[in-house]
Symmetry: C2
Subunit: 208 residues, 2 copies
Amino acid sequence: MTKIETGPQKPKRRKAARPGEILQAGLEEFAISGLAATRLEDIAQRAGIAKGTIYRYFDSKEDLFMAVVRSRLVLSLDQFEEMVTNYPGPTDALLRQVLTGIYKQFVGSDISGVIRILISEGPRFPGLVDIYHKEVTSKGVTILTHIIKRGIERGEIRDGPAAREPRLIMAPTIMAILWDLTFKAQDPIDIEEYLTAHIDIILHGLSA
Amino acid sequence: MTKIETGPQKPKRRKAARPGEILQAGLEEFAISGLAATRLEDIAQRAGIAKGTIYRYFDSKEDLFMAVVRSRLVLSLDQFEEMVTNYPGPTDALLRQVLTGIYKQFVGSDISGVIRILISEGPRFPGLVDIYHKEVTSKGVTILTHIIKRGIERGEIRDGPAAREPRLIMAPTIMAILWDLTFKAQDPIDIEEYLTAHIDIILHGLSA
DNA sequence: GGAATTTTAATGACTTTTGAGTCATTATCT
DNA sequence: AGATAATGACTCAAAAGTCATTAAAATTCC
């Protein structure tokens, strides 16, 4: 019955265990279990620290959650934007390059975790949805709109309903991310093949 | 301080409050908040009953959760299957009919709730993911594969990478469902237009 | 440069809160 | 009148959040 024995025994590491590590551990846990089902103790364990340490950097579980999502929300689409504005060649090659880059960067990455979190927790965190929509989604739509506009001007893309709905171009990407998150065990996607097929159907679907 | 006052005051309704009502209320709450964050009290309130009543029909919160998802998992794709096998006309009209039917039936329906639940809770309920994959996803893929095969045989669809990846055809549908769940407030989808564009790009993307 | 001292980081036992699950009591049905 | 359905106050376990205590780092002083 040696129980009442207050105080800690072995505070070890120093220097590391920075907020960044907590954010990373938090992302990994939240992406799997969501906000409510994730225990701070799990995050602490994954980060190799004690639960109490989290409270030195974040006010509450929810505060940590917000910080986690915000920290991964911005993600640079700038490279793609630049690709589009500077690209000299034909539209099909440009689209191929942009889509390839997006797959490489997103499928199976931290970003897919953020997307799952957003879908799951969106209703209780409209603020986060708002930021994501502004920072990521609508930027993506803008880039795709540019590609289409450019293609129409060059006479490579036909104008029509499809050209007015840029979300169609990225739909297969979103689906691949979610498929990978959800059905990887049952029925894994071969990303190479899928990407090839994606580019193929989009190029034929839009071409003049 | 009139607190300790055991026993109930007003058991009201009889006859209604059947398991079905609890399942419906459960679906609505679970779809918004997920398993962990949903309180049985919320479900009870939505169903217009007391918390204890739930335990007459379900053993535990998790048992109710499983029952909720299972109850909405099967959903008939049979009508679409039948459409495909019996359809006499050209592929574009068939595809138009099938896609229109899917949008009408799925976007904004109970099914979108189930899809959100599956994405959110999948990692902790691989059994449910398994059932959904077998009962819904792979059936959907089969139907689309039939359409494509039929189209190739009739000389209306070109063979190629896109024809080997039927998931591409339904990707915009999935995206519309999730977009509606997540970004309705920021940026609602006009389903009529979106569907038109979807059919347009797919038909051009696949046509011979 | 290094011992002594102050400041800051980290710990985990403890407290508090929250919500799942129970059950004695009461209404309604047969 | 007996059986069944429903209730909500209550119990209890689990996890969020606190804090006295200790380790390590930074600073001061000689």
